[in-house]
Amino acid sequence: MTRRVISYGALFLLIIVAPYWLYLGALFVAVLIFPLYWEAIIFAILINTLYSANSGILAALTAPLLLVTLGMLILLLPIKSYLRTNA
């Protein structure tokens, strides 16, 4: 739990100061490491809000970053479950 909370602060700081390839990479690593890292969706929405030129709810819902993050989380559900069962 502590590591998860530390990841929130680290990711937020990276989003503000670091280049995009660093914070996006860190975000996807966090999604892989932590179980059901739903906070990744919040961070993806934050990145979209801060840096994207497309405003509006519909534009945000179809933003590639959000869809990729959601897709990654959903895809990892059965994979992580399989790994846990058969480890």
């Binding site: 503000i16 995009y20 739903w38 405003s55 509006g56």
Partner: protein
Amino acid sequence: MKATYLLRNRSRQASARKVFLLVGILLIGVIVFSILRGPIIRAVSPLWLAENVVSGSLGKIVMHFQSQKVLMEKNINLENQVISLEAHVALLERYENERVSLLELLRGKGSGTALAAGVLTHPPQSPYDVIVIDVGSNQAVHVGERVFLPEGALIGRVVEVLASESKVKLFSASGEETNAVLERGSFPVVLSGSGGGNFMVKVTRDTEVVKGDAILSPNVDSRLLAIVEEVNLKSTDSFKEVLARSPANIFTIRFVYVTP
């Protein structure tokens, strides 16, 4: 450890619940962040300003530890560059004065003054070719206004205006299409943004274009939009692919001008 007993059927409902939870978080998050867009950017702006100050200071500290010889060589090279650029600027100033006089004749005086703005964030911090500037509706900025470099090159348009900040979409943003004119021959072209300050233009095989040619805006003041970097042509193609770059180094922009 491999299981040796019969496994219970995995509950599909648990997986479906998790998927619905994630989609629900997405929908609620998007709605909340859309409503709180302005306050979030306003809250983060001081952090961006602090980061710009700190990174500038860190750069100076790093330079302090570079060897004296390296610094001396850099100094000599930069001095030589300054001398040659000063001569070039003197020539350009003469042409600029002529251009301004001609524009005033065409459009009449008092066509509006430019508003200077500091850049809060730029690529590569932003994954898109979008910059955030520190002027907004409080400084009478409106959506659609053009944004220039201090040197005069046109780089983008204001796409979103908040109270004290605005977002500028650069013409080089991926998927962005801009009408332009090739300086050599005054051919109208369409600049397609490729991201990262790069453009792609398709022209017919017969169109004369070489590296270093300027691509200008189509309106009366003909601002510089891009500079041709490479021309690709295969023997079987009927079109030339022209790769151009923005005149601005979008990774280090610090100040821009906004005009109506």
